[in-house]
């Protein structure tokens, strides 16, 4: 493999700056730290092997997000099958903490939010994750995943509505 030294230097900076965000987005899309690590690794290696820097940090961010989205989709298909099989085994009992019942309820709600997010259809989840956890504007999300701003607006709304329905009466 041939990668220029200049690219390697710029890669190091990009890795430092974008890794936390990319990992966070991957984690929220796939819902599992281990898979999120695999997805992030694959995305950054793909970028490194590309060997050509992109014009600016934003373009690099969008590129990585697109790759994460595509790789996660493969995991998603696999996961949907596994989820159906092992959903009961993966359920964990509530953990009681010293601060009492209130803390437990809060923890349960959080877990519920995470689970509910994973229940969302993939296309809505990705957009909502980029909005809430990526802190991106509709315009940025549109550029990153190649859809119109209007489409982003619709997907965020639908995702939020679905999530709200799943959480209704619990938050």
């Amino acid at each position: 493999m041939y990668v220029s030294k200049d690219f390697t230097i710029s890669f190091d900076k990009i890795y430092e700056k974008l890794f936390p965000l990319i990992y966070r987005i991957a984690y929220r899309i796939v819902g599992d730290p281990g898979i999120a690590e695999d997805v992030s690794q694959e995305a950054f290696i793909k970028y490194y092997e590309r060997g050509i820097p992109l014009p600016d940090i934003d373009q690099t961010k969008y590129w990585l997000i697109r790759v994460v989205k595509n790789i996660s989709f493969n995991h998603e298909k696999k996961k949907t099958r596994e989820r159906k099989m092992f959903s009961k085994l993966r359920e964990e009992g509530p953990k009681f903490s010293e601060s009492g019942e209130k803390e437990v309820i809060k923890k349960e709600t959080k877990k519920m939010v995470k689970e509910a997010l994973l229940e969302l259809p993939y296309n809505l989840r990705v957009v909502l994750v980029l909005k809430e956890y990526g802190k991106m504007s509709y315009k940025e999300i549109g550029s990153a995943i190649g859809i119109s701003e209007g489409n982003v607006k619709v997907r965020v709304f639908r995702g939020r509505e679905k999530l709200a329905k799943l959480l209704e009466g619990r938050i």
């Binding site: 493999m1 041939y2 990668v3 220029s4 030294k5 200049d6 390697t8 890795y15 890794f19 936390p20 990992y23 966070r24 984690y27 730290p33 999120a36 690590e37 992030s40 690794q41 950054f44 290696i45 490194y48 092997e49 809060k106 709600t109 959080k110 939010v113 995470k114 997010l117 909005k131 809430e132 956890y133 504007s137 509709y138 607006k153 619709v154 965020v156 709304f157 939020r160 509505e161 999530l163 709200a164 959480l167 938050i171």
Partner: protein, 187 residues
Amino acid sequence: MCPAYEILSAYIDGEVPFPWNKQIEEHLSSCKSCSQKVEFYRKVQTSMLEDSEPDYSPPMQRIWNKISELKQSNQYIKTPIWNKKISIPVPLVGFAAVLVIFIGSLLVFNVMTSDPSSVNIITHKDDGSMTEVNITAGDAEEIQALLRALESNNTPNEVIIQLPEGSTGFQVGEPELLRAVDFKRKR
């Protein structure tokens, strides 16, 4: 009339531009169902953000190590020196340009005003007599005098041009013998 929920969702994301966002704000203060909807969307948003995440540092380090291995197997292509990008700050370029112009003009000025060295021209005649003329380069009168001296005498056999000591000369083109007629035509 109540706005569509889709607009309320965009509103909490700050994606509704002025002045429509102000209109929604006004509407929310008077419409209970809409303000409840916005409140609920905000609640969903807050609960999403409250959910803790795994620490990114350990995977960041692990992946970094893996990529470092890749880097070690990588053979760098050395950028040739003529392809290297050099960046010079604009003020420095400006300063350098000013310096070049200054030194250049100084040199030109020096050449124009430099003290011309004198040149000795000695003509030998057939009868053995010798005329020595000392001229200063650039002095039209003295050159005229020399030309007159050369013309007034019959063609001398030998003309020696003695340059001042230490002066260096350079050759331009090949020495060439021309017939007078060709020479005139070329002119």
